[in-house]
Structures are given as structure tokens and as C-alpha cells.
Symmetry: C2
Subunit: 140 residues, 2 copies
């Protein structure tokens, strides 16, 4: 029994919860079935179709890394059937003190007969931010 | 006077023609105005808004490189207002004999009052393909 996501935001929240927990069934529940879904992991090839996408998440979740993902810089354009979300993914890996440079992500959601589902996930590394200017610290 | 693109495919053709010619005005004609447009050049930061996007193309076109871009592996999902195109960009730079590894691209087009316009262009390098198996050449 698939969950129904009433809004693209609900589908997006479920996607990142599944990613953080490394939960393959929850992850694949978010994706549209019967559609030519597209997934690009950072620096990875363009995957399309349910089987390729499922296999990629299965491989990724084998590492059993626990992640926390915070979205920032969000831009959204929603139509009747499709919703486009651009954001930065700020990823913190459990046990690592330093945050990773953000990923740039384009997520597309499709309204289906069973609510909104993910159609496209395209993530790529953002360039590292320039080092903070190291001027003298002036306290007051 | 802006051109009207009757279909997302017309807008896409105009986008790649402008890219090949390095024509800034033609390029910016393709993009939606009055929308929070998003552009990610390969390995680049997420740009949003007309001014950031225009400035980035202006910088890119200063190199005056002539390109040929051939799309392959195309996947399209079109709604009433939004059209999502995933593809590989196969780029040939004039004067270079070797083709570049393909870029993975997600292009999103929006139906506006003046036809279809680009809303999102997200390009990132695809991994280099594995070297061809170097077995003995068997001619027949």
C-alpha cells in the first residue's frame, strides 16, 4: 500500500526522511511508478527507469551512513501536474565534525493518481565556497 | 520584440542554437522573464534570477568558443504549464579533435503568455565512460 503525498512538499519531506534513514522501501515509495523517472547522483551517470534508480539507492544505502540533510536556498515553481524545486542540500554525515560542501539539487515532482511523486532528482556538487576573509578580529 | 516559442522543443532548439553561436541576446530571449529562473553550469554554483543568469552567459560567451551540441538519451515529461527534459549534451568544441565527455542536463520549460520559455537549466559532467575493452581485434 503506497502512501499518498497530498503536496509536492510532502513528497519532498518523505524523500529526505528516507535518505536520512537509508530506508530503501520508503525511498522507492516516493518515486513515480509507470513513468520514465530520472536520477543523477552527485558526479554519477544519468539513471532512468525504476529498476536503475532502485538499484542505485540500494547500493548507496549499503554504506549505512547516517545523514542529516538541511535544504537551503529553495526556489519552487508549481504547476497543476508538475512542481520544480531547486535548492542546496547541506549534508552532515553522522560522526563527521565538518559539514560537506553543499550539493545543488533540482527535484521535480509529478501529480499522479496516488498523490505527488518524485519524477527527477538531479544533484551535483556546488563549488567550495571561497575561504572566509581572514582579517584582524576587531572586537569593538 | 521577444520571439514566441510554440512548444518546449522550439524553446530548447533556440537555447542550443544560441549556445552554439554564443549569442547572448538570443540566449536570454529563451529564458522566462518575471520568474525566479535557475541555472547551474557544469561544476558551477546555483544561479537564480535574470541578472545572475545573464551575467553568467555573458562571461561564458566572452571566450568566443564555437561549439556544436548534440543531445542524446532524451527523456521528456510534458504537462500543461511545465515541460521537463533530461538528456546528455554531447559537446564538440571547434578546433578540438576529441569530443568532451557528455554533460547530464535537466532542462525545464514554462508556458508563459509569450510561449514556452526556459525556467531551469542544470548541467553537470557525466562520469567518463569506461575505456573500451581492449581485446584482440578480430577482423572476421
Amino acid at each position: 500500500m503506497k502512501r499518498a503525498y497530498p503536496t509536492p512538499q510532502d513528497a519532498e519531506a518523505a524523500f529526505y526522511e528516507a535518505l536520512e534513514r537509508g530506508d530503501l522501501e520508503a525511498m522507492m515509495d516516493v518515486w513515480a511508478e509507470d513513468e520514465e523517472i530520472v536520477c543523477v547522483h552527485p558526479t554519477g551517470p544519468r539513471l532512468s527507469g525504476y529498476e536503475q534508480v532502485r538499484e542505485s539507492w540500494s547500493q548507496i544505502f549499503k554504506s549505512r551512513q547516517r545523514l542529516q540533510v538541511r535544504l537551503s536556498n529553495q526556489v519552487r515553481v508549481q504547476g497543476m501536474m508538475l512542481s520544480i524545486h531547486s535548492a542546496h542540500e547541506n549534508i552532515q554525515v553522522a560522526g563527521e565534525s565538518k559539514p560537506h560542501p553543499p550539493m545543488v539539487v533540482t527535484n521535480v515532482y509529478l501529480r499522479t493518481g496516488t498523490g505527488w511523486r518524485m519524477l527527477v532528482h538531479h544533484a551535483s556538487p556546488a563549488p567550495a565556497p571561497p575561504p572566509a576573509a581572514e582579517g584582524p578580529k576587531i572586537l569593538h
